[in-house]
């Protein structure tokens, strides 16, 4: 009475195929995104824990220039996601030159984001914000701000490099549309993380008078 030796039913899960109907590379990127989300999640939890536990958390972001700048950065990143979508569509349609152009636009958006971000950082540092102190309140403000946004900025910068490699490779026909799509997944993820950081770091620390 064994269940063995049943005639083999072919299904997407019985082996010999891809059960999720996406390439392994794409699945791999999704798994990476899961892990990275948890990393950012842990950082956000740590930030929340410390903020709630601190009686003197500063709320320093005035509408101009801080919130305006952060809003522009958000818009830049969102636009770069749109250009990335266009790049993927072009890649899937086989329009190589168009894809490379759209990817260049995306990279430009990432670089612009980085420049605005660094400018903001320099401004804050000029005002006396450090990892271990600031003129307004709990020293953990600077620590959590720089580490959270720094981790995100690192992801953006590495993303720009990654997109550059894929765009170059795709342009030379060494990479496929799947590689473009996988890099797009990463880029959208980086954008999505910012959509958490923007409200949780900037907006709830906005000083609106």
């Amino acid at each position: 009475m064994s269940e063995s030796d049943v005639t083999m039913t072919e299904s997407t899960w019985s082996g010999g195929g891809l059960p999720y109907a996406i390439s392994s590379k794409k699945l791999g990127m999704w798994l990476f995104i899961v892990a990275d989300s948890i990393t950012f999640g842990a950082m956000l939890v740590a930030y929340a824990y410390l903020r709630v536990a601190s009686p003197d958390w500063p709320i320093p972001f005035k509408f101009t220039p801080s919130i305006v700048n952060a809003t522009i950065m958000t818009f830049v990143l969102l636009s770069s996601s749109i250009t990335m979508v266009a790049a993927v569509q072009a890649a899937q349609a086989g329009r190589i030159a168009a894809c490379v152009r759209w990817m260049a636009a995306t990279m430009f958006g990432g670089i612009l984001f980085d420049i605005l971000h660094i400018r903001e950082w320099l401004g804050l540092i000029h005002e006396g914000v450090r990892l271990f102190q600031n003129p307004w309140g709990s020293p953990l403000f600077g620590a959590s701000f720089f580490s959270l946004t720094g981790l995100h900025m690192t992801h953006v910068t590495l993303g720009v490099i990654y997109l550059g490699i894929v765009a170059t490779g795709f342009g030379r026909k060494k990479f496929s549309a799947i590689d473009v799509e996988v890099s797009g997944l990463y880029w959208h993820f980086v954008d999505l993380v910012w959509m958490f950081i923007f409200p949780l770091v900037y907006l709830i620390s906005a000083r609106i008078h």
């Binding site: 063995s4 794409k26 740590a46 953990l140 580490s147």
Partner: protein
């Protein structure tokens, strides 16, 4: 929607040429698996030697240990250990064993070698990533070892590195400066290697199964490696930022884990705003799944081997899979049971105790299914069979002592004592290691094309089995007598009468350690001089036994295997053979 062809894209790398590409930067999962295995072997020998030094010091604290003064003139002047030296041995012992042995060999070592073959694949989904994962792990080991050589001393805060001790820097004493930073850097690097490995395992198991290898036909080892990979993906992602924040507390002047107003050596510390409990939450949210990462592959290996040893199918494949999944899921809900007395709200004592006790149920079911599988078996008790059966015994013992610690009212007394040390050594230091021995004896012929010596294997088992009970069972008694752990010496009045027990444990530990030389000799001698192995010396059913020993570089010689049945079809009523390999074409069976 995009997809590759119905057959997964062939993950081709042509056969490697040249020593470097064949043995150093190999993309072959079999070579990478062996690299992980031998890294673990190096780590376990190192960790064991550290533990011998610790045990000698605990039993005979004032004694001068020969050669130690030459090895560590600062840490052990005249051969007598300083307290911080003992604590650094303890920290490195724990860190090396948990990460570089228990998280590496069962999953990355055996998993890398065996998983692709068992599912009928040519290699892992991402061979280059696989190679990178190993070398990242290797670099992480080097970073950890380098902490031995810094002027400030190697880290002393234990493998758990509680803040503020671990975050304060050298103000807090020796072994807390550069050594601690290197510890955090090493573990952070290890996290990256593990994350990359985990995603490789998951993608491989989902995407690269051969035709006919449905999830219900996966050997239990593959289920275990898959579940462990999911655990790793989620858990290590939390440890990584924790290590980064710890490093920032050291080099960035931040105070993530250090509150205000601390005075060390009469100096007010400049930190403020942080929380030591935050470190504990982050660490244990990783730390508890971590111990299941250490044991679940062992559960898979034992289940897989037990069927072969008993020459009958396991009592219930589905229940074992369900239990492993349940255990893995619950493991994320129980981290607070390490923190019952931590200063968290006492309500959490109850909220964490209940799921912790719940985990007993699937663990008990696993043991019962195993027992039910051994019932009525025709046991072939060779080396791996003995270790598999031995695993059941030690896993039950270790699990039952957890029952005490899961209850906060009892933990009030037993916390931070030797009862805890006995508990986790039984489940991790014994059961998981038995899983690795089982795996070694079982897969050695496949990996090296030769047989290990059976007599030596059995001798190794008996000495080890009796030895580990002699080492770790007395620790429970010490814990009941309130012997506190992480003490480099026992000077308190009520602990003095317990020192003879420590002496007994030390002698048992040294003897059992010596017995491992039998294993090491057997391992290395057999690699070169063992009898040549056939493809299927154990008459097992899984796919790795359908290919030569050792396998060709692409496992199945360019063919795509087809799977016709579940694993573990031994002694099936009415079957034409005593065992039915998974890839043997369908036969008619009269039920």
């Amino acid at each position: 929607m995009d997809h590759d062809s119905a057959q997964p894209a062939a993950h081709h790398h042509s056969p490697p040429q040249g020593f470097i590409w064949k043995y150093i930067f190999s993309l072959d999962h079999k070579v990478i698996g062996k690299q992980y295995y031998f890294l673990s072997l190096l780590a376990v020998v190192t960790g064991m030697i550290l533990s011998w030094l610790m045990r000698i010091h605990l039993g005979w604290g004032a004694a001068a240990i020969p050669l130690l003064s030459k090895l560590s003139p600062n840490g052990a002047p005249g051969g007598v250990m300083t307290p911080e030296y003992y604590l650094s041995l303890m920290t490195l012992h724990g860190t090396i064993m948990v990460f570089f042995v228990l998280t590496t060999a069962p999953q990355a070592g055996f998993g890398n070698y065996v998983l692709p073959i068992q599912i009928g694949a040519e290699d892992m989904a991402f061979p280059r990533l696989n190679m990178l994962s190993f070398w990242v792990t290797f670099v992480s080991f080097i970073i950890l070892v380098s902490s031995l050589f810094v002027s400030d001393g190697p880290p002393i805060s234990g493998w758990t590195a509680y803040a503020p001790l671990s975050a304060m820097g050298s103000a807090g004493g020796p072994g807390l400066g550069t050594g601690q930073i290197l510890w955090a850097a090493s573990i952070g690097t290890f996290c990256i290697g593990s994350l990359l490995g985990a995603l490789n395992f998951i993608a491989t198991t989902l995407d690269l199964r051969a035709r006919g290898m449905s999830l219900a036909r996966l050997p239990l080892t593959c289920w275990a490696w898959f579940i462990t990979a999911v655990l790793s993906l989620l858990a290590f992602a939390v440890l990584l930022p924790a290590c980064v924040l710890l490093i920032l507390d050291h080099i960035g002047g931040t105070s993530f884990f250090i509150p205000m107003g601390l005075v060390v050596s009469d100096t007010l510390q400049p930190h403020s705003g942080g929380s030591p409990l935050l470190w504990q939450h982050l660490f244990w949210f990783f730390g508890h799944p971590e111990v299941y990462i250490a044991i679940v592959p062992g559960l898979g290996i034992i289940s897989n081997v037990l069927a072969c040893t008993c020459r009958k199918p396991l009592l219930s494949y589905r229940v074992l899979v369900g239990c492993m999944i349940t255990i893995a899921f619950l493991s994320f809900t129980v981290w607070g049971h390490h923190m019952f007395l931590s200063g968290m709200s006492p309500v959490s004592g109850l909220t964490f105790s209940v799921p912790t006790l719940f985990i007993t149920i699937p663990a008990a079911i696993v043991c019962l299914i195993w027992l039910g599988s051994v019932y009525g078996a025709k046991l072939r008790l060779n080396s791996f069979g003995l270790f598999a059966i031995g695993f059941i015994s030690v896993f039950v013992t270790g699990g039952l002592s957890g029952f005490f610690l899961a209850q906060p009212a009892i933990d009030t007394y037993l916390h931070a004592g030797y009862f805890v040390v006995g508990h986790f050594h039984f489940v991790m230091g014994v059961a998981a290691i038995f899983g690795m021995f089982t795996g070694t004896y079982f897969w050695f012929p496949k990996m090296f094309g030769r047989m290990m010596n059976e007599t030596l294997g059995k001798l190794h088992f008996w000495l080890t089995f009796i030895g580990v009970y002699c080492i770790f069972m007395p620790m429970h008694y010490l814990g009941l007598a309130a012997n506190i752990r992480r003490y480099s010496a026992f000077t308190d009045d009520y602990m003095l009468p317990l020192i003879p027990v420590h002496k007994f444990i030390t002698i048992a530990a040294l003897a059992t350690g010596a017995a491992q030389l039998i294993f090491l000799f057997n391992l290395f001698w057999s690699m070169f001089k063992g009898k040549l192995a056939s493809a299927n010396p154990w008459e097992a059913t899984e796919l790795e036994w359908s290919i030569p020993s050792p396998p060709p570089w692409d496992n199945f010689g360019g063919k795509h295997p087809v799977v016709y049945r579940e694993p573990y079809q031994y002694n099936i009523e009415g079957a034409p053979a005593e065992f039915l390999p998974q890839d043997a074409p369908a036969q008619v069976i009269r039920s």
